[in-house]
């Protein structure tokens, strides 16, 4: 609140000189500004700030939700450092994020280029978004059944082709790649749309010049499209990496962390400790660690990929 007031005051000095009734204007501005900011501010405070602060507090307690939180200091964090399942969940999540992001970004970039240069029809462009309109849970369950070992249609085709059936969700080797692929399928249309918007923002004359200079299609892509698209790509990467780290619903409705621990991703492990085993302090502590990891990842991405600068200037 104090920062808000400060901002509105420091922003006003320019106006009083031209407007004699500056005093009135000032408070009127503040009131109107607050009115417009209020919905976002209230949402932010109640749904982000308060839960975050409370989550950080709970991470230093032992709390089973039905009783009262009991302060235990760093105990949860010490236990997490020695918890093999936590380290396993980091490795599994890392594997998922890597597969998901590499595939999703590459495919989305390809799709965006196709949308930009070939598929100009709105229907086709719109159709690419269709998987994204489906809820995560539905998409996961749909593939869960289609990829079923015994009665799934995909394995039926594999069988007809004379190949051995694949336990897509049941085998430890396949479980994470399968889920990464499902979510790639669901999200790539949306990611492609973001990149496509970035492509449209690149001025046409740059391409014309490149053409005049006799640049090949590959050279144009390497030397013009990629650098000018960078700010959008960085934004897309930051958003998708954070989203990817938070994979939960797909796991929760299909494998539930199994087989053994192959899909016990970090968000699912948090859920398991907190909501299934009523260890909310421990769950909160892992959530805080995840928060720090994501903040660091986003910072590194912004810093080293210079996402807030554009080469167009």
């Amino acid at each position: 609140m104090t920062t808000l007031a400060k901002h509105s005051r420091s922003a006003t000095p320019a106006s009083p000189s031209s407007k004699p009734r500056g005093g009135f204007r000032q408070s009127g501005d503040l009131r109107i500004a607050l009115f417009f900011i209020a919905p976002a501010l209230i949402g932010f405070v109640f749904f982000y700030l308060v839960p975050t602060v409370r989550g950080i507090y709970l991470s230093f307690t032992e709390y089973n939700i039905l009783g009262d939180p009991e302060w235990v200091g760093m105990e949860n964090y010490q236990a997490i450092a020695k918890d093999p399942l936590f380290w396993n969940s980091l490795a599994v999540t890392g594997q998922y994020v890597f597969l998901n992001i590499v595939l999703q970004t590459a495919l989305a970039l390809g799709l965006a280029l196709l949308m930009h240069q070939v598929a100009k029809s709105t229907i086709i462009r719109g159709a690419l978004l269709l998987p994204y309109l489906m809820s995560n849970v539905i998409a996961a369950l749909l593939w869960f059944w289609m990829l079923d070992y015994q009665i799934g249609v995909v394995n039926q085709f594999i069988d007809w082709a004379g190949l051995p059936r694949v336990a897509f969700f049941g085998s430890e080797e396949w479980a994470i790649p399968t889920q990464a692929l499902i979510n790639t399928w669901r999200h790539m249309g949306y990611t492609a749309l973001l990149i496509f918007a970035g492509l449209q923002a690149i001025p046409g004359h740059v391409y014309e010049v490149a053409k005049l200079d006799g640049a090949s299609a590959w050279q144009t892509f390497r030397k013009i499209t990629t650098p000018l698209l960078r700010p959008v790509l960085v934004l897309v990467l930051v958003v998708t990496v954070i989203g990817s780290f938070q994979v939960f619903d797909t796991v929760a409705v299909t494998t539930g962390g199994g087989p053994v621990n192959a899909t016990r991703v970090i968000q699912y492990y948090i859920y398991q400790r907190a909501f299934t085993e009523s260890d909310f302090g421990y769950g909160s502590a892992i959530a805080v660690i995840l928060f720090l990891i994501l903040a660091l990842v986003a910072f590194i991405q912004m810093k080293f990929l210079k996402g807030n600068e554009s080469d167009l200037d």
């Binding site: 089973n64 939700i65 039905l66 009783g67 869960f144 059944w145 990829l147 079923d148 070992y149 015994q150 009665i151 799934g152 059936r165 336990a167 969700f169 049941g170 085998s171 430890e172 299909t254 494998t255 962390g257 199994g258 087989p259 053994v260 621990n261 016990r264 398991q272 400790r273 909501f275 299934t276 085993e277 009523s278 260890d279």
Partner: protein, 445 residues
């Protein structure tokens, strides 16, 4: 905070003294609508009828029944406890009520039992005692029970030349699997029509498995392996209920688990990885397995599949000359935060009475907890052409053991689930359970 707590205490004291004086406050709590939750959709019609009958007899109380699937049931309930929106009465599970009672979420119903003259000996043996917590208070009245049996595909048995009488006298031991393994092997058929016990059987291309697999069984192995492991004299915990030491490190148990995991290796049972997805009962219906060990609550589903003749055999006799089956029972409990305490108590007493349990029996979906109602349920099943002696025999011959009731059950499950999956999938030997057992027992220190 302190002040408001004091105020609450005063208010509670006033309420208590008021109700003690003239009972005027109990009028409020004996009227209106009470909410009731259960998870099994198959039982909803039976309990809806109980609720209607109950309202007919007690016109100033109505019961609103909500059915929620097992997967969401407990987390929604916990949210309700915290948020103050939990149901007045709900179906409770042995694996859960210890923790709920310890956190003061359940209302003790000892008084209600006394006031309503409920005869606890009318329930099947042991069922009522399961709901007495560590503090000696009673937290639920039994509503039903279940045991384990072997569902088999009659046509596959006939094709293999195995008689139904043979199925009734199966034996098992952890060394060679007894006649149980022989039958399972013979019922297994590979893609070229060779049986599991014939030379040239291809274990990597199996068409029909002798035994279906539900999963690794996590901490209890209720339908997966406990009907075998507990015939060796092994039991999950040092005592039951309220044991404080688990026994997954016992060599007897580990030998049984090695035998069980070996079935998949021999090609007689599906590999664990192939069971993620379609339910075991559905793959049985699709003709992928000949025998499925499953609980009595599944009778309706197995016998309901079109085009498949299903028989039910008792679980095999173990090395000590006895069969064994986990005996699990549900009960109805009252939430400590209910505002309709008197109405809720009345409803729980009604649910546990012959009036309601006979209605449940007549629908032939589960076995009610009252002995007399259990017999009626068996008759109702028989009228539908289903012989359920495989399940009732366990109770009659006292070959049941109780679902392991301890503290920390959710955490025990969290540790044992991946550990058991690793063993049943053949990724780790059963001796690896010793390490998991140490983790489990550390929870009780």
């Amino acid at each position: 905070m302190k002040k408001s707590l004091g105020a609450v205490a005063v208010a509670a004291a006033v309420a208590l003294s008021l109700s003690a004086c003239n009972g005027s406050s109990s009028e409020e709590s004996a009227k209106g609508e009470i909410s009731y939750w259960l998870w099994d959709a198959n039982q909803l019609p039976a309990y809806q009828q109980c609720a209607d009958d109950f309202t007919k007899a007690n016109p100033d109380v109505t019961v609103k029944i909500t059915q929620r699937g097992w997967d969401d049931y407990w987390s929604t309930l916990t949210n309700g406890f915290v948020g103050g929106t939990a149901p007045d009465v709900f179906t409770n599970h042995l694996g859960r009520y210890g923790e709920l009672a310890e956190n003061n979420q359940l209302l003790p119903i000892d008084d209600a039992v006394e006031q309503n003259n409920i005869d606890l000996s009318a329930y099947n043996e042991g069922l009522a005692d399961l709901w007495v917590g560590q503090d000696g208070k009673r937290y639920g009245l039994p509503k039903d029970w279940d045991t384990i049996g072997l569902f088999y595909n009659k046509a596959m048995l006939a094709a293999a030349g195995i008689s139904e009488d043979q199925m009734k006298d199966l034996t098992w031991n952890p060394e060679d699997g007894g006649t149980y393994e022989k039958v399972i092997a013979h019922l297994t058929v590979d893609n070229s029509g060779k049986r599991g016990d014939e030379p040239g059987f291809d274990k990597n291309n199996v068409d029909v498995y002798g035994l279906g697999l539900n999963g690794g069984g996590d901490s209890s192995g209720q339908t997966e392996w406990s009907y075998l492991t507990n015939t060796t004299g092994w039991s999950h915990t040092d005592k039951n209920p309220w044991g404080t030491h688990y026994n997954y490190d016992d060599p007897k148990f580990q030998a049984s688990m090695d035998w069980f995991a070996g079935l998949a290796d021999k090609g007689y049972m599906p590999k664990l990885e192939t069971t993620v997805g379609a339910a075991m009962a559905d793959t049985f219906a699709a003709g992928k397995s000949a025998i499925n060990a499953h609980g009595s609550w599944m009778i309706g589903q197995y016998t309901g599949y079109q085009g498949i003749e299903v028989g039910i055999a008792p679980t095999p006799v173990g090395p000590q000359g006895e069969r064994a089956s986990m005996f699990n029972g549900l009960a109805d409990s009252i939430w400590a935060g209910t505002e309709k305490k008197d109405a809720a108590t009345k409803w729980v007493a009604y649910l546990a009475s012959a009036d309601c349990q006979d209605v449940v029996a007549s629908k032939a979906v589960v076995f009610p907890a009252l002995k007399a109602s259990s017999d009626k349920a068996a008759e109702a099943f028989a009228a539908k052409g289903v012989d359920v002696t495989a399940f009732t025999e366990h109770v009659k011959n006292k070959t049941t053991f109780l679902y392991p009731i301890t503290d920390n059950t959710a955490k025990v499950k969290g540790i044992m689930e991946p550990a058991m999956d690793a063993v049943v999938s053949g990724k780790a030997p059963a001796s690896s359970l010793t390490a998991a057992n140490e983790q489990v027992n550390a929870l009780f220190k």
